[in-house]
Amino acid sequence: MTSVPIAADTAVPNPSLLARAVGFFSGPVGLAIKLVLLAALNALAFWAVGVLLADEKWIAALAVGGATLLIDLVYLVPDRRLIPLKFLVPGTVFLVSFVVIPIVSNANIALTNWSTGHNLSKDEAIVAIEEVSLVAPADGTTYTATPATKDGELVLLLVDEGSGELYVGSEDGLESLTSGTATVEGGTIVAAEGYDIVQGEDLAGIDTALRGIVIPTGEDTFVRAEGLTLAIELQPTLEYDEVTDTFTNIETGVVYTDNGEGSYESASGEMLEPGWRTYVGFENFATILTDPLVRDPFIRVFAWTFAYAALSVFIQFVLGLFLAIVLNKPDLRLQRIQRAFLVLPFAVPAFLAVLVWQGLLNDEFGIINETLGTSIPWLFDPTWAKVSCILVNVWIGFPYWFLVCTAALQAVPEELTEAARVDGAGPLQVFRRVTLPLLLVVTAPLLIASFAFNFNLFNNIYFLTGGGPYGVEQTVAGSTDILISYTYKLAFSAGQGAQYALAAAVSIFIFFIVAGISAISFWRTKSLETVR
């Protein structure tokens, strides 16, 4: 069994094909195509570097620029030694952009405190804290405001809503406006001598200048425009000190200092909102290992995830294989139609199928209990819910294994099974000793891949049970939550909003779990190959 004759012709690439491809891209047409593709790439890179430089992301800009230049040189410099690189570069680019960068950025997020309340940069957070701390003073005034210009400078024409007095507001302060010189209509100034009212299409362009008008009215009080028609007097309740990097409550004197975790915190532990995004080292990983909220359900969830993925794949495979063998009889009537019908579940979008199943499995209203005359709590009992999850997953996944096994069965040489039969083996023995081992050689890697896929199959759990039902003692993770849906809940429904960084840290754990299981399995299946 060293070589299967048919495979020999197609499996080994035609050596002249390679040479012809290289030759083609050295000719004029090939060169033109090459230049167009490279030009497109360079244009894209040029634009990207520009954006990155504008955002002051120096390293990224250097990396993009350098990589693009290298790619140009590899494809343009005619040197024989570069030919292998020409084949390696595209694969490397895809590897970097779709595998390395996501993993690195995920790990990068896991080291931060990115979560609700920690979404800004520190500078943005300081501005936002100052803004939120503004209050209207007890005797504060509100004004109707009309933006106007005098000698090209933007000012605000104000009417005190309480007293009806008129003012001109600018950086220099409030200045009374003689009532005779201005026309007031509906509480706002519509015309004033010596001032050009900004109106109509001119309003679109004054935003930045308008927000720049801060009219001092007292020691720390000021009036500023809110929108286009209103101005209010405001007063800060917190004061920022750049030198010490602290906020001080003006009234109570409480000092808030940078706590190193992306928030200003007072001595009593009170924090200012918003905080900012910063690196917190391995804190999220420590949380996973030490926080009982995360740790306690972990083993339970992990065990169920493993059982769910393993049982789903095993039953899918057995069912798919069984049906493939049954329908593999050459003289079967309507073989094609039967096969087509079996593949149907594969054609239905999985999450739609899951939602339909959710309806079918309803224990009071569902058609399944109605048909069977039972009252099984399919989705409301922790154990039955697990059965339902696997059942639905098998229904969705078996057509895949049916297809794979049907194809693989064609590749098992007739001579071998016949030889075994001649030697006196029964049909079961032939299957067990010849067909199955040969089949497993082909399908084992797919089984492992399918296991890893099911391990992280978020949709089926999320749409069928939502991770429930929840026992009285269960927190965060319900009875059918798998690791990935549990991560989702940790990130979005446990605590004070969304915790992206913690979720990123958990997903790194999951990555190592899945990678570990897959590595062990691949290593174990090497022994299968000795069958050949």
Binding site: A43, N119, D202, T237
Partner: protein, 414 residues
Amino acid sequence: MLSTRRLRVVAGLAVTAIAAVVAVSSGSSATNATTLVIWTDADRVPAVTQVANAWAAPKGVTVQIVQKNFGDIRSQLNTVAVETAPDVIVGAHDWIGELSANGSILPLSPSAATKKQFPTYALNSFSYGLAVKKLFGAPVALENIALVTNTALAKVPTSFADMEKQALAAKKKTKAQVGIAVQQGSGGDAYHMYPFFSGLGGYIFGTNAVGNLDPSNIGVANAKFLKNAPLIDKWNKEALIRSQVAWDTGRDLFTKGKVAYYITGPWFLSDIQKSGVKYAISGFPQIVPGIKSVPFLGVQGFMVTKFSAPHGVESLAKDLVANYMMQPSAQLALASANGRFPANLKAAAQVKDKDLKAFGKASVGGVPMPNIPQMASVWGDLGAAWVRSTKGAGAIPARRSFIGAQKSIAQKIG
């Protein structure tokens, strides 16, 4: 030979460089017009387009309306790039805590005259702040659930005992599985069970001295509620309610005339009307003496994002949201876009639709869904507690179930 090779390299680099420069320069020649970007859900696109353009046209501002899934607006605002970010978004009042804690939205100051046109709770629901409470959105539309009665099967109840009796009688008559259709499903639905929860004395967060919601005061298993909780076990036993009723089964039970009572919101109004079932909309009867049974209130409205400042349209956006959109005419247009009750009292007075008015009446005394970020920890547990106790056979006594939920919520909030 060597020279042609060199020539090729040089020519190649030259061609690609020119292409690059052309591409970049054509990209940077963008127009300088003032554009205001608004993110809205599909239902509201026509109304927002009409209202925003009426405001924008005289000011020389171009409005760009971007259609999003309602829920996506909240999550995408956290991660969007400044260049493509919105200046104004539509949203629900209970996003305010999260968005403001993130610094994603700006406080608003409508005029006193404008504020007077809104009920206090609508403005409160859009206000948030640890020390200083500020308004972060312009309320536009109110929504809440109400009690819908199939008037061919039963009368609008005068008391809870009356409702229970009529519901069970109708259930017997139609051989339905439940007496009252309350949408739940295996995952639970705290929003739809809230009238029962509040009517038995439950609350979610208490308030502190300043009047802010206090996440350390959780009332999911408070003493008053626990005393009344065995009623839930009774309802479960007599199949007055069952959590097997999902959103679609609940609707079908009512529209096919199987149940006398249905607890739902204005979103299923058109289905009910199409079904031909004769109905009446009312508030919830009191379950226990001295405690009102009220729904959660949802307020939808518009907010100004932090991106409006770097975009140079902050004043414009604030004028649109805190001034123009809060006026009666804009309110009426925006609220009726998806069949909701307008938040503005003057606009509300103009509502003619009797069903909408009835939903508005049922909202009286309702509790706005808590808008603090800690609420994320509550929904799942509260829904799950109800499901555990109302799933028919094998149900867990409500007292135990809600004590478990309280513990879980407290642990998550930390």
